[in-house]
């Protein structure tokens, strides 16, 4: 059985929820978002983060603005949730909690 492929599918399914949850804690730019995600586990890579951000921005779930860091350096694009994105994050979180409860009951609580 290809457990790696299955895990990859799990990660893909969770990436959008994780990203929206991370941004619900406040505005952040790419590297910060990755750091916040990695603090909890290695779910999203650089190669998947930026295309996902682009799609969510295009879909109106998040919005971005450019800012030059006061300490100097490269311009950074800061993202935050739009009201629609915040609503989606809440709905997805509720769906996730229900899903987790079901899976826990079915898979882990077996006698």
């Amino acid at each position: 059985m290809d457990i790696g492929g299955w895990q990859s599918q799990l990660r893909k399914g969770a990436a959008e929820l994780v990203l929206l949850s991370v941004l619900s804690r406040g505005e952040a730019y790419g590297l910060e978002i990755l750091a916040r995600i990695r603090a909890g586990g290695d779910l999203v890579s650089e190669g998947s983060l930026y295309p996902l951000l682009a799609r969510l921005e295009k879909a109106g779930r998040i919005t971005g603005r450019w800012e030059l860091p006061v300490e100097g350096g490269n311009p950074r694009k800061y993202y935050r949730l739009t009201p629609e994105g915040a609503d989606l994050a809440k709905a997805m979180t509720a769906a996730w909690v229900a899903f987790r409860t079901t899976i826990t009951t079915l898979v882990e609580d077996q006698p």
Binding site: V44, Y50, P51, R55
Partner: protein, 189 residues
């Protein structure tokens, strides 16, 4: 230019080139963001830059992810057939569903086009457009040399062909949108 800085410039140049499908104003922002991320990684150290480039994958692979997700999401918002077909064709090499949906939609758009042509041609060439019942088989459409015998539909061909054209168009677009959403859900990250 130092060696790592040249690598970053090379990566972003290739990425920009591979993102041709995306509008120029958006493309510049996407590339600038990746460039900024790479420069921040380099500031940490050369090893960090190596790890980041490895995680991003080759520029053409990163561009492909952008183009697929972005075009599909953008096309779905616009609901116009051309961007939808374009977005699906990108995927049709890898997905049987996308290939089948594009094929079915193309056929339906073709039917819609033929039926629309009938609507346009009937008032102009009434004797050449319509439905003829012949002993061997029936004939429906536009004919330079119409079959002998009475035409069956008369002006009724106009509403029937128009309704058929609209139905084929709607069904084709629906097929693309449904399959597009399905694929988008499968390839979120």
């Amino acid at each position: 230019m130092t060696e790592p800085a040249r690598r970053i410039a090379d990566y972003t140049r290739r990425l920009r080139w591979s993102l041709q499908a995306i509008p120029a104003e958006d493309r510049a922002g996407l590339v600038r963001e990746i460039e900024s991320h790479l420069a921040d990684s380099l500031a940490v150290g050369p090893d960090s830059l190596d790890a980041t480039m490895k995680a991003m994958g080759p520029p053409h692979a990163l561009a492909a992810r952008y183009v697929q997700e972005y075009r599909l999401a953008g096309a779905l918002a616009e609901d116009r057939p051309a961007p939808l077909i374009g977005a699906m064709l990108v995927r049709s090499g890898r997905s049987v569903a996308a290939f089948g949906a594009v094929l079915a939609a193309m056929l339906l758009y073709l039917f819609a086009l033929v039926l629309a042509a009938i609507v346009v041609a009937k008032p102009l060439f009434p004797g050449h457009v319509g439905l003829w019942r012949l002993p061997q088989q029936s004939a429906f459409g536009i004919f330079t040399d119409p079959p002998a015998g009475p035409e069956m539909m008369g002006l009724w061909v106009l509403p029937v062909a128009l309704a058929g054209a609209l139905a084929c168009y709607a069904l084709a677009t629906l097929t693309l949108r449904r399959t597009g959403r399905h694929l988008l859900r499968r390839a979120t990250a």
